[in-house]
Symmetry: C2
Subunit: 314 residues, 2 copies
């Protein structure tokens, strides 16, 4: 529709790679940036020193812009932000927290800030906080998710009306046709998580990629609504949560079932039974693991092909 | 994209009005058909004799094709189908049940049959049953809903791959841009419920239309998952259900809370406290009650305007 997002981020295609935990090291981020999108390092599963190492390696692997995704409720967010500013990372995508806390300070260091929201209300708050662009994520997205449960189809037009900043659609986008649909809805670009989490360059375990490329529709579910709503594959761990939720278990019991380190155990270490397996609904559209170069080329080809087929209604 | 759906139904625009209970009498159905879409009478809230009366009045009000929506689990489905066949209604949209039961018999009477599904699996079963077209409805839709919770954005491309029949997208569509997005995803047309439920010609109560045009994002929720998942406005009745569900109430207790006649009480009689208020997520995009003529004209104008703005990615 326009070039606001690509100009803001200095990228070729309006495609941002989501900053999923345990998937997005320097290999994935640099591959996305080298192929015309915006790669993100996922700080949510890194210590500040690990992040520093990945930033250095990413910079060595690409001359293109890349960014860091920072969940603002992360325990050592101060340490993460310190590294981001010291290493002069050009772009930060913040999520899961108040955008007022860090936006100004990052921008004073010359960093462009995008913030992830799940509603128009939070989009307006992010705009008031002075962020440079908004990422609005629908119910179909993997992992942590909004309480409103608004889907991408319903959400994007409403956020588009509510704010004037560049807008990125996230959730439910794994093909060029879905990308075009998101632009129809008013987005200036897309954030793609699941598809890149299942790429060759993703640091997710082979077991995780294998299970995700064999899912059927309905094989993920939004659970943990009494804690923080999260979309998971319905494996044994998830069924345990669902069983507890069905009988009305309180937040404390759910916290105990979740325990610690479950996303690492599942996504990174490949324990498909006891791990917390975060992935989006569109996983059931993805049947093979490919290099980022092929993925981005296909997204653009499909986008243009679908656009060429659309006709006015007379 | 193509004219398969408009040719099948002999209509001008690829727009079907959803057959929502207590909203769709002859006034709404004939207005939609007179303005180039396909109007549906909602048999789910009619006795066979009431339906016969509405069919006669609809036929007097339009020379264009119209149809009847029949939930196949309706208690007097035999009586409803008898009236449909006797009155030679040209189109039936069946939902909530097994499409094998009625499709052949209706088609032998010259009736075109569409069936509503929430997954590719059910779409394939409907295709096997010999229906003429599929309506695939996403999680954001109002009222009764699939167990898979797949959103329109994620669902349509998968159903498109799974079946070869004409495909109609439903759920999350209340603007021409959303209609265009649905066609990007592979649909041949759209079914629109919420927007028509809130039109001037809808037989829903003024109180219902008033509350729906003042909703914010997140003001509806999919509840009753232990019975049949249903999207409702979070009014006092819905909060009572949620409270019971949060403490793990069994299906029997939920059935008792729901009781009888709640949709009529809410949607038709205007009791906004104790009624069961079924509406889609897109209600929060709709701020005024308009005649069907204006609604359809705007849908087409927005569709063409949005299409004109799309550009290839080079």
């Amino acid at each position: 529709m326009n070039h606001r997002l690509t100009e803001l981020l200095d990228i070729k295609y309006p495609i941002i790679q989501g900053g999923m935990v345990w998937c997005c090291g320097w290999q994935l981020a640099s591959a996305v940036s080298n192929n015309g999108g915006l790669g993100l390092l996922g700080a949510g599963s890194m210590t500040p020193e690990t992040l520093r190492e990945h930033i250095k390696k990413c910079r060595a692997a690409t001359v293109q812009p890349f960014g860091v995704n920072v969940p603002l409720l992360y325990k050592d967010v101060d340490g993460i932000m310190k590294v981001v500013m010291e290493e002069k990372v050009p772009i930060v995508v913040s999520s899961a927290g108040n955008p007022k806390t860090w936006t100004k300070q990052l921008q004073e260091e010359g960093i462009t800030v995008l913030h992830v929201v799940s509603s128009s209300k939070f989009a307006q708050k992010a705009e008031e906080a002075g962020v440079n662009a908004i990422i609005a994520e629908g119910f179909e997205a993997g992992g942590h998710n909004g309480r409103e449960e608004t889907t991408t189809m319903a959400l994007i037009p409403q956020v588009r009306s509510a704010v004037s900043l560049p807008l990125v659609a996230a959730g439910g986008i794994a093909t060029g046709s879905q990308m075009l649909a998101a632009l129809c809805l008013g987005a200036d670009g897309v954030q793609i998580g699941t598809l890149f989490a299942l790429s060759e360059e993703s640091s997710a375990s082979p077991e995780f990629k294998q299970i995700c490329t064999n899912l059927k529709e309905g094989d993920t579910q939004l659970v943990l609504k009494k804690l923080s709503p999260t979309r998971l594959i319905k494996n044994a761990f998830c069924e345990k949560i669902k069983e507890a939720e069905d009988r009305g278990a309180a937040a404390e019991e759910l916290l105990e079932i979740v325990g610690k380190g479950r996303t690492k155990l599942g996504i990174f270490e490949g324990n498909m039974t006891d791990g917390e397996l975060e992935i989006g609904q569109v996983a059931s559209l993805i049947r093979k693991i490919e290099p980022v170069e092929n993925i981005i080329r296909r997204l653009i080809d499909e986008y243009n092909l679908t656009l060429g087929r659309l006709k006015p209604v007379l």
